[in-house]
């Protein structure tokens, strides 16, 4: 028991980060993590032996997030994250500001692209793991990554005037 709890615990901060990037709301993110841990405890014996724990936990969290949306119809998402809204985050003021900016950038992507980029680029999951977590084929994952990155390039690398000119 203690071993399995420690194993889950070593993934909690990563789950919390993923949840925060999904919900952009500290309280909802924390509830999501709590629900994920509870479900992992009660379904522990159903894990396929030999499979790494982290992708399994991320799958649970992702499914809870999706079904939570469906159940409560709370499609409303916080439009942005202000630095104070993040709650107690350790780190320097610059670090906290950069965090808020990165979350804001990600918030401008459609959810499916955001999740793909979080799983692959931030959490370092392989394509095989990430597509399993999202329940999509690897090809779909790659096109979401590609579209998401294109959007991020536009947002980050192009000055606002250039973007304006392109729109007009």
């Amino acid at each position: 028991m203690a071993g399995r709890y420690a194993e889950i615990e070593s993934n909690v901060l990563h789950l919390q980060r993923f949840a925060l990037a999904l919900t952009r709301d500290r309280d909802r993110a924390d509830d999501l993590v709590q629900d994920t841990i509870e479900r992992a405890i009660s379904r522990w014996r159903l894990r396929k032996p030999g499979l790494p724990l982290r992708p399994w936990l991320f799958t649970i969290l992702r499914n809870l997030h999706v079904s939570g949306f469906r159940k409560t119809m709370r499609m409303r998402e916080a439009s942005g994250v202000d630095v104070d809204g993040l709650g107690a985050v350790d780190g320097t003021a610059e670090g906290r500001l950069e965090l808020a900016q990165v979350l804001r950038l990600l918030a401008q992507l459609p959810e499916e692209q955001r999740v793909a980029i979080l799983l692959v680029s931030v959490e370092g999951f392989s394509y095989a793991e990430a597509s399993k977590i999202m329940g999509i084929p690897a090809g779909t994952l790659m096109s979401r990554l590609s579209r998401g990155r294109k959007r991020l390039r536009e947002l980050i690398e192009q000055p606002p005037e250039a973007r304006l000119r392109r729109v007009v």
Partner: protein, 256 residues
């Protein structure tokens, strides 16, 4: 996802950034990028952005674990919550005497959820078929109670721990898989007392959140149906209601 021949395409550029190409394909992409400076710039931008995302979000995993997420405590809380729910119900349930309860149920005054009632019927039927069998009462014997739980759990889609009821003088014989209603699989564990009488525990994934506890007496055996966590249970045997509730508590304890 990493074709080794064919022209360099968007998938290659995406997979290149994520280190998902074979060494061979990766070398081809690198050669190709030499002649395509625009794409090279784009790849460099993607890598820069990835590093920025990792850096910006990195402080969230460098934190110390919030107290709220001590897993041991969450597990304890989960157990306590389920127990309180069940104990509260069991306490209310104990106030209703058996005779009165079954009378009321028969006259339809106590609403009996259909799912629970039908689980009891199926459990009782399985009890009546398999318990009298002296030669082969179970499909899998208790020798491997660990793998028995794993096997049944995989089939019914929930984690199953085989309760140890030896404190109550019940020795595990083994278990089997059964059809539940709607074709959903259920499990049956069989226990035996020193006097040869047997008790079965029938279980399946619950269909809905249903807190009711239901005790029924028939000429053959008594059943106690309840739900704990995501599992619906039915105990079948000759014990009275109090004996059944006590066993149910032990089943819950082993499940949490």
């Amino acid at each position: 996802m990493t074709r080794n021949n064919g022209p360099i395409g968007e998938d290659d550029l995406t997979a290149y950034v994520d280190g998902e190409l074979s060494a061979e394909r990766r070398a081809l992409v690198e050669d190709w990028l030499e002649g395509h400076p625009e794409d090279r710039k784009r790849i460099e931008a993607d890598i820069r952005i990835r590093d920025r995302l990792q850096g910006g979000l990195g402080i969230l995993v460098d934190e110390t674990l919030p107290d709220r997420f001590r897993v041991e405590e969450i597990a304890t809380g989960l157990r306590a919550r389920r127990f309180t729910q069940f104990s509260r119900l069991a306490a209310v349930f104990a106030l209703v005497s058996v005779g009165v309860a079954s009378g009321w149920i028969a006259r339809g005054r106590v609403p009996v959820p259909m799912a629970v009632a039908s689980n009891s019927d199926l459990a009782l039927a399985a009890y009546q078929v398999y318990v009298p069998d002296k030669v082969r009462p179970v499909e899998i014997t208790a020798d491997a109670s660990e793998s028995l739980g794993v096997w049944l759990g995989n089939r019914i889609g929930l984690s199953v721990s085989v309760p140890d009821l030896s404190d109550s003088g019940l020795k595990l014989i083994g278990g089997r898989l059964l059809p539940g209603d709607d074709g959903i699989p259920a499990g049956q564990l069989m226990y035996e007392k020193a006097d040869g009488s047997r008790v079965t525990l029938y279980f399946r994934a619950a269909k809905s959140e249903n807190g009711s506890i239901l005790f029924q007496e028939t000429s053959g055996a008594n059943t106690l149906a309840w739900q704990f966590g995501e599992m619906a249970y039915v105990l079948t045997g000759e014990s009275d209601k109090d004996g059944m509730v006590e066993l149910a508590m032990k089943v819950n304890a082993s499940a949490s």
